[in-house]
């Protein structure tokens, strides 16, 4: 099986280890992974900030970079949701509409891709983890299970559920800098719920939430380790 990996701009800038871990896991599971060199960003920052024309310009590079029939795998529920949920609207009535719908149809968040194809990651670990439902994964993709299933499959890791796991962490893209105080309050609540489980680390399918929660936890003195799920699966 073949797949194209969408690295995501956030992983490129903040944490290349995340997309590399994603590639490692997929390859171990027998997937032939390509990482299109001409990819940039899915366009979500512009789209959700109310600048559709600017977002479309960036999203066109994604349509070009991920042309073809192979599935597109993204280590982010939010970027996957942008393609699956946002592109049909962003490109409605545009010359690229058909290409956008096709890409939306073959794009999957990383753990969804694993679950859909029954891929065994053979991952091992130790200790305990708690799982954060990122909003776009949970509500735009309607996915509550695949992340948890991937974690449960890691031999030796115990999954502990936190309180209010379906409540937003307050990141919200540019919301985090437009209303930092509200965002910070929610991030702190999320960090405290995660820490209260006593789990060794907080795991999520979205780097953006983790970056925000970890940063807020450190600022407010909440002891919390975070990792992206791909890093856990890569061991």
């Amino acid at each position: 099986m073949r797949a194209m990996l969408m690295r995501t701009c956030l992983s490129d800038v903040m944490a290349p280890s995340v997309w590399r871990a994603t590639r490692t896991v997929l390859e171990r599971a027998g997937v032939e992974v390509s990482v299109p060199r001409r990819q940039t960003c899915c366009g979500q920052p512009g789209w959700s900030s109310g600048h559709p024309d600017q977002a479309r310009r960036v999203a066109r590079t994604a349509l070009a970079a991920f042309a073809g029939d192979d599935p597109v795998v993204v280590p982010s529920g939010s970027c996957a949701a942008m393609v699956r949920h946002g592109y049909p609207e962003l490109f409605a009535g545009q010359p690229e509409e058909e290409a956008a719908l096709a890409m939306a149809g073959r794009t999957r968040e990383f753990t969804q891709f694993l679950a859909e194809h029954g891929l065994d990651t053979g991952a091992r670990g130790s200790g305990s983890a708690t799982y954060h439902d990122s909003c776009h994964m949970l509500r735009l993709l309607g996915e509550r299970e695949s992340g948890r299933a991937a974690l449960r499959a890691v031999e030796g890791v115990e999954l502990r559920e936190m309180e209010a796991t379906d409540v937003c962490c307050g990141f919200g893209g540019t919301f985090s800098v437009n209303f930092p105080e509200v965002s910070g309050r929610l991030g702190e609540e999320k960090a405290r719920h995660a820490a209260a489980t006593g789990a060794d680390e907080l795991i999520a399918c979205d780097l953006s939430c983790l970056m925000h929660i970890a940063g807020r936890a450190r600022r407010t003195g909440v002891p919390l380790r975070v990792r992206h799920i791909a890093e856990v699966l890569a061991g």
């Binding site: 990819q39 940039t40 949970l138 919200g172 929610l186 600022r219």
Partner: protein, 467 residues
């Protein structure tokens, strides 16, 4: 449409971010909101488990989409049936026209006292101010609204206007108004309010209510409530004026019955409202009670401009307030910080749409959301509020938004070019390495400053664990 009257309150002058900061600093508010959100959440979970909520919601969505699709026709039918039942129907293009109709009517009938039951449309048009300016006295009779009127505050929730206050805060307001020492228990405070408000019901010349929905089939006005005050307001005074947003119409009693069921489920997590008032015309010859005159004011106020657009679904709203309770942002700052009668997700969509996209304060609202989508989950008529928020953002025309667009134009130019993208990523990674101390940045310059105002930034990944 710069001539449109603001929907935000006139005292909403400080930027939204400043207002959210003030709200966050209020510990009592945080506790009150937490309690309210938790109790709604528990009731809503229970009621959703006891009923086929998903199917009911799908049906409610179908009903509302159909009603809004046929709105002109349904309104014409409603108008015809209300008139046939002896009522007087007025179409008000905007807030000024609606207020003027009502104050003119009050003057013509020589009224001096107006009793009101809860109504979002009258909050939207600032009717109380207009009535007071015309020299009349107006008293809110919904307990929460009355408390806020006495306290000089605006409502913080569509259904539970004083939900941001606790019992002790309410007691202080009531004591300040009456000059009496009041006991601390809830029953006694309610009894006090009942005594005071009875005087108003008995002597008011005009009763003004909102309308949850009008049933086109029979020309019936439905007013749903939990205290019984709306029944008195619509029945005791000589004149009843009902103010209705033009979208609040359903086709027939089949639809009405369904909406009547799902509304209290969504709003208060109960399968029935305390009181459902069904009003068809004024008192008819031979009837024992009811007002002599019934006036229905149907308010446009910017709504008709949404018909046929990709924002039309905002008109599906049945004003249950569920999206407010479900919203992490609303639960953090409360409704008053929004500075509009309509707060929370639906308020952030509606306020700028009704007021005009150039409104500086109203157009900040759609940005105060993380787009988490819990509002859509909570909405009993399935409005995709997170999508509407994005669409409204795109239409904002304020200077601030135009400036933001200029920044995003640069972004799109750079990031639509793979080579420029790679260069900017490389530069950002160098910047990150320079900014970090032991894997963390505590203070960033420029655009990063707002990030580090609240959080550290991990400059290595996975982040170095805290000591």
């Amino acid at each position: 449409m710069s001539g449109r009257r603001p929907v935000v309150y006139s005292d909403t002058t400080a930027p939204l971010r400043e207002r959210t900061r003030e709200a966050l600093a209020d510990d009592a508010l945080a506790a009150n909101l937490r309690a309210a959100g938790a109790s709604w959440g528990a009731a809503r979970t229970r009621i959703s488990a006891e009923n086929p909520f998903a199917e009911m919601r799908a049906r409610a969505r179908e009903i509302r989409r159909g009603d809004i699709g046929d709105l002109p026709e349904l309104l014409a039918r409603l108008e015809e049936r209300v008139t046939a039942a002896g009522g007087v129907v007025t179409r008000a293009a905007d807030a000024d026209a609606a207020c003027r109709y009502i104050t003119d009517l009050a003057a013509a009938r020589g009224a001096t006292l107006v009793a009101k039951s809860k109504s979002m449309a009258t909050e939207e048009i600032k009717l109380n101010e207009a009535i007071e300016e015309s020299g009349l006295r107006v008293v809110e009779t919904d307990l929460g609204e009355w408390i806020l009127q006495l306290a000089g505050q605006h409502p913080s929730h569509i259904v539970a206007p004083a939900v941001h206050l606790n019992k002790e805060q309410v007691r202080q307001v009531l004591m300040a108004e009456s000059g009496w020492e009041l006991p601390t228990d809830r029953e006694a405070l309610v009894a006090h309010a009942r005594t005071r408000l009875r005087e108003v019901f008995a002597s008011a010349d005009i009763g003004i209510s909102g309308v949850n929905f009008g049933v086109a089939e029979t020309g019936t006005i439905c007013v749903v409530e939990n205290e019984g005050n709306a029944r008195l307001v619509t029945a005791l005074p000589r004149i009843h004026v009902a103010v209705m947003g033009m979208e609040r119409v359903v086709r027939d009693w089949d639809e009405a019955a369904h909406i009547l069921q799902i509304l209290p489920m969504a709003a208060i997590g109960d399968d029935a409202a305390g009181y459902v008032n069904l009003i068809t015309g004024p008192r008819a010859p031979g009837e024992a009670d009811g007002p002599e005159e019934l006036h229905l004011v149907i308010l446009d106020g910017g709504r008709s401009a949404l018909l046929g657009t990709d924002l039309e679904e905002a008109l599906d709203c049945i004003r249950c307030g569920a999206c407010l309770y479900s919203c992490p942002m609303w639960r953090s700052v409360g409704g008053q910080a929004y500075g509009s009668p309509y707060s929370g997700p639906i308020g952030s969509v509606l306020t700028p749409l009704l007021e005009g996209m150039e409104g500086e304060r109203s157009s900040e609202l759609p940005f105060m959301s993380s787009l988490c989508g819990s509002c859509h989950d909570a909405c009993p008529v399935g409005i995709p509020l997170h999508d509407l928020l994005v669409r409204v953002r795109a239409r904002v025309t304020t200077t601030a938004h135009r400036r933001d667009r200029a920044r995003f134009r640069l972004w799109s130019r750079a990031w639509s070019n793979p080579a420029a993208y790679r260069l900017s990523v490389a530069m950002a990674r160098i910047g990150l390495r320079l900014a970090g101390r032991r894997g963390w940045a505590r203070r960033l310059p420029g655009p990063g400053a707002e990030w580090t105002s609240q959080r550290d930034l991990p400059t290595r990944w996975p982040p170095t664990p805290p000591r």
